[in-house]
Structures are given as structure tokens and as C-alpha cells.
Assembly symmetry: C3
């Protein structure tokens, strides 16, 4: 098991593909399965395109429109107008991912990157737990 700390600067995407790949290399991983779990309810793990950054900005635009900050629907508002939207965005995406590993490398597609998606407006320290099973 390995913990990755990701210090965010507020809402947005923070790529962790290299950190996870480096960990597998250092651990001498061969063939197996890597699982990542984010220990939060207002930030997600997302596999998405790592080429054009406009894709991630469009994802952010879409989710900001789908789950607007300060929506009058929400009653859990004590932690700020972006807190309940952050929970909803987390429910709509993923908090854990499992990726096959072959010869020490994750079987990601060419355009796939692994991101922490911070949903809160303010900076947070996020923890992702990694687990590898295999040989």
C-alpha cells in the first residue's frame, strides 16, 4: 500500500499518472492490478484525455453548469456554496479505479491520464491510497 498526497490549488484537475507509474517501477511490480482510492467525498479520481487541456476545461464547464454552486435546491450549505455540489460531482464520477498492470506498466490507453479532480473552490490536501496485487 502506498499513500499519495496531492495538494490542490482549488477546483481543477491534478494529474498523478507519473507518480503512480513511478511507484510501480520502484516497487518492482510485474503483472497484476493496481487500485487507487481517494479518501474524500468532495474530490474524485478520473481517467481522462491527457492531450488537449481544453477537454478538461470543457469537463469543468459542463459540471459547473450541471451542478451549480449555490443551487437553492441544497440545504447542506454550512460548509459553503460549493460543498454540496462537490459531493454531487463526486457521486457522479468515481472515488476508486482499478487498472491492470503488465510488465510493471499500467495498461492505460495512449490518451488516458489519471487525475485527482478537486471539486472544492479552496485548496485542499487530498490523499489517494494505492494498492498493488500481483507479482
Amino acid at each position: 500500500m502506498r499513500e499519495f498526497a496531492v495538494v490542490t490549488r482549488g477546483r481543477g484537475f491534478y494529474e498523478i499518472t507519473r507518480e503512480v507509474a513511478a511507484w510501480l517501477r520502484e516497487a518492482g511490480a510485474g503483472d497484476g492490478l493496481v487500485t487507487l482510492h481517494i479518501q474524500h467525498t468532495s474530490a474524485s479520481l478520473l481517467i481522462q484525455e491527457n492531450a488537449d487541456p481544453e477537454v478538461r476545461r470543457d469537463l469543468e464547464r459542463f459540471f459547473a453548469r450541471l451542478v451549480p454552486d449555490g443551487d437553492a435546491l441544497f440545504r447542506h450549505t454550512l460548509e459553503g456554496p460549493d460543498d454540496m455540489p462537490a459531493h454531487v460531482r463526486t457521486a457522479l464520477t468515481a472515488v476508486n479505479l482499478s487498472i491492470p498492470v503488465r510488465a510493471g506498466r499500467m495498461a492505460l490507453g495512449t490518451w488516458q491520464g489519471i487525475y485527482v479532480w478537486e471539486h472544492r473552490q479552496k485548496p485542499h490536501r487530498r490523499v489517494v491510497v494505492g494498492h498493488f496485487v500481483g507479482e
Copy 2:
């Protein structure tokens, strides 16, 4: 492998964190990975905040607005006005989860609870299958 039966009283959240934790303890699990899979297409598994219950009520409000029961868009209506919305809500969330386990305990964050999210209006018996790999 272990089966958890969850008898729901209709739409809403049913926490199973304790049941899963107890199973891992009884099975003598050490370090590894636990996977949960719900065997249904109109109920989800969700990791969400276990503190303020208003968070889960707001989640429910949001999804009820996003995927309204009886929406005229849907043609699969034979099983009731909440059936197709239940399928959509399941597609928008998750049917399986994988969580690293360390020294017999799931590496959940402080505020993370594991829930069966029943999307149908009427009570159902839901089955969640648990798998542990490790030592």
C-alpha cells in the same frame, strides 16, 4: 466471497460499512483489497459522507431533479414511472467499488461511508457480493 443482503424500505441510502468491516475482521483479513459488487441494475453502491445526513438528502434531491420519475422521454415504462430513472441513476453512479485494506481495516477516509443507494420507490431485497484478495 461473501454475500450481504440489504432489505430496503424504498428509495434512499442504506449504510453497509459496519457489515463489511465486520466480515473482514471475522475473516482474519490483513493487507489486501476488498471489492463490493451489487447484483442489480436499479440500485447503486456509493461512498459518501457519513456525518451530516442532510448531504445524502441533498444527493437524493439532486438526482430526483436530474432524472425525474415519469419523464416523458422514457418508453420503458411497464415497470413503473421510477424504473427507468432507477436504471439511469445506476448508470450515473457505480455498481462496484474496490477499497485497499491495511491490517484488516478498509482505507476509507474519516468521512467516508459505504451505502447501498436504492433507486426504486418500493422496498427491495438487494444483494451485494464481497471479495477479498490479500493475506
Copy 3:
């Protein structure tokens, strides 16, 4: 590890349950865990009802309304009016799934089928990577 190639004919659902089940049988899998990962950012893996095909058509109708092709919100438009919606639809669903296996058979519910959900309008060749851990 095993690769499944799925040649799609454009947007829609392509069931792969039988292919995965056949692979587990041929590999002599007993008890364990199977993980599937799709190596793309504009197609998903989905577990959904395998009985009435109208359910999948309604899912498609819902997502087409939720994330409209050609939405003026999007700026990443070079790859066509359906490309950015395909990324959003992928973010809203899943790119990997993990299913417990007992005596060589996936612990799917009676009505659960495993689908590649192609989100692009044109045909694509999609690759799903399968991993099994167990005995």
C-alpha cells in the same frame, strides 16, 4: 491479462458478457476477481439490464439530452460535435469494472450484462483489457 477488441458501428451498446465469461472458462479460473478496463476516453464500460433493449435505448435518449452533441458550451470542437459530449459521458459513467468470480463464473445478477458503450457517432475499434486474480 487478455485484450478484447470491440469494433463498434457508432454510438450504442455492445455486449461483451459472453466473451469475458468464455475467457474465464478457457483460462480455468476458479474463485477470484475479474477487472475490465477500457483504454479510451470517449467510450465507457457499463453494467446494465440485458433483458428489454428499450432500457438501453432510454439510457441513450437520456444521455443525449443531458449532454447534447454540438452544445455551445464546449470549446474542444475540432474532433467533431460529438467528441466533447463523448468525453463527458465517459466521465459520468465508468472506464473500469471489478466483478467477483466464483467457481469460474462472474457473480453478476440475473439481469446484469456488461457493455461497451460507444459514445462517438462513427465506428471505432475499442480495446478492453481484462485481468484475473485468484486461483
